[in-house]
Symmetry: C2
Subunit: 345 residues, 2 copies
DNA sequence: GTGAAAGCGCTAACAA
DNA sequence: TTGTTAGCGCTTTCAC
């Protein structure tokens, strides 16, 4: 720790001197420019090797105005986000894609209004080339903030507004929900209930819409709103059981809520799946495989979604950003879901 | 997105001009130096406001050699890390502490040898002032790498070596394990088994040691090794049941393994806790509260650990790093655990 | 193909 | 207290 290497790290100048070339040539070699004759290039490379030279990013950024870093901004007023493995998986996908393109990941977690300002300053400060924003709630001001800062961005999850500029990645919530309900129908179930997520989030609404696509005439008493927590799921399940003791199936908008529902069903003496079939959403293995019985659920590839977000952003950054060429620009991405059948339905 | 503000962002120069002062004075005001007379300072502040000036971090770093950014390096050869909410919680604690000190969090995920080199280059490149390393495995080379790069660091979890220089934060695995076993003993259980984690990780070893502290003469057949997955827990539980059908309690080294064990016990017709009492470790709410019955477990404050790691590192960075003053230097931190009693024991 | 020179935007001596 | 000046380490015209 007393190593003063930070102060004495070799510079391009040193490399150039050792290789007997100019700084410009050394720079060319380091950056892979092809206009340098082989023997010279070789000498430079050796000097780099011997000196353990690593370019100083700050100096480079100062002139190129590129950071090779992108921010991942997470709005997290709710702790829910952090008890789910959702976040981690998404981040891993992002990280993989970014790494493959030599970009760094700067994580910006926010928990309140003050944090929003901080993030705004950070983006405006040009520390990063772009941002990946997880805007979980209605009317979130993060996207507006990024736009004001002039930072290109991509949103995780369908935003609650829509324009031609905004890029996002989401899974096919509606289609996945339809598959879930159809599966239940195929099992011969006729009184199918739905535990929805908080309806101020697009994902919840989309899943409910999918439910209704298949069951347009569903008894409204068969629908209860949860909040993506186990307790919320349990509460909703109790309500449903109260209102419709004859229900024979439940489609929960998340695995976590399904797990709460499972507990209530068991406590109420209903066997799963014999008496009541249950389908979840997310396929969060650490939940779906742990429940008893293991959950039949709608799988979404969370990591892939993260990867796609990163790819979309990187792609946009490479664009000449010539507003004129809005034609062939990248578009939002909806990833497919698929039903994973386990024991609960 | 067509906003050219990135290119045309106002510089200190512009601020100075508008305020009618020199660049140096403007800089002083921006950086909160107190040697500037009030009226001047006020004018500068107004100019900053009007122009929407935000300092260019690259330029600043180039001269100060500070980044106000620290790296979080996660070795992740196993996906386990990502299905656990462990990571997310830890990161949140880190983020909070860092934010409070105006530092950014750069996330470096590694998945293989190539990534290690990448991380080495990154650290050596002086992009960050320090690193928080999660070194989960025996003989991990990450710490050595950071040391070579001259980057101050703090490790998450007790490392498998020990010297006076290395700072780390870990929970009291051994003490927590003792509490768990004593609780079981207090319940009148006499044939207490242990499902250990992979014994190449310090946490697993420490928890096993705690078990043995209380039960020094435990039948070796009452100990089985798992791998921190539900399947591993299930497998270990099967073995134990095979070898010692008369066991009346199990202490699992993690909640996730306990959940697997629970399933096997239930399948084997044992009631929990009547026939077999079960205690886990971690108090991962998303697991411990979801199992049936909810898990009695050893709680560790993961977020706090993250916060402490960050604090320790920032503290070290502020030190004059005068090797001489190794006396009052910061020391490793062991956080307390506590038993949370739910229904399983 | 290679080198010389001019900055990128900022801070920190040093003068005034 | 304020201004002048000299870089931080790098890329990138522009000559040669």
């Amino acid at each position: 720790m007393t190593d003063p290497s930070f102060a004495s790290r070799p510079t391009l100048e040193a490399v150039a001197a050792r290789a007997g070339v100019s700084r410009a040539t050394a720079s060319r070699v380091v950056n892979g420019s092809n206009g340098v004759r082989a023997p010279l290039a070789e000498r430079v490379r050796r000097a780099v090797e011997e000196l353990g030279y690593v370019p100083n990013q700050a100096a480079r950024t100062l002139v190129t105005r590129r950071n090779d870093a992108i921010a991942v901004v997470v709005a997290e007023p709710e702790t829910r986000f952090f008890s789910d493995p959702f976040f981690a998986q998404q981040v891993r996908g992002i990280s993989r894609e970014l790494t493959a393109h030599d970009n760094q990941l700067v994580l910006l977690l926010t928990e309140g209004a003050a944090d929003y300002q901080r993030v705004g300053r950070y983006l405006a400060g040009g520390h990063v080339d772009g941002a990946l924003i997880f805007s979980l709630h209605a009317n979130d001001s993060l996207p507006a903030l990024a736009r004001r800062a002039g930072t290109p961005f991509v949103i995780g999850g369908r935003p609650d507004w829509s324009d031609d500029e905004t890029l996002f990645v989401d899974c096919d919530n509606r289609g996945g929900a339809r598959d879930a309900v159809r599966h239940l129908l195929g099992l011969g179930r006729r009184r199918i209930a739905h535990i929805a997520g908080p309806l101020d989030q697009a994902a919840s609404v989309d899943r409910l819409d999918g439910f209704r696509d298949v069951l347009p005439d569903a008894d409204p008493r068969l629908i209860a709103e949860g909040d993506f927590t186990p307790e919320g799921g349990a509460r909703a399940m109790s309500e449903l059981l109260d209102r419709c003791p004859d229900l024979d199936a439940v489609f929960a908008a998340s695995d976590v809520m399904a797990s709460g529902a499972l507990r209530v069903l068991r406590a109420g003496g209903r066997r799963v799946p014999e008496d009541v079939a249950v389908v979840g959403f997310d396929d969060m293995i650490s939940v779906a495989e742990l429940t008893d019985p293991p959950l039949t659920t709608v799988h979404q590839d969370i990591e892939e979604m993260g990867r796609l977000m990163a790819r979309l952003l990187l792609h946009r950054l490479e664009q000449p950003s010539d507003a004129a060429s809005a034609s062939a620009g990248p578009a939002p991405i909806i990833t497919p879901t698929r039903l994973v059948v386990r024991a609960s339905a």
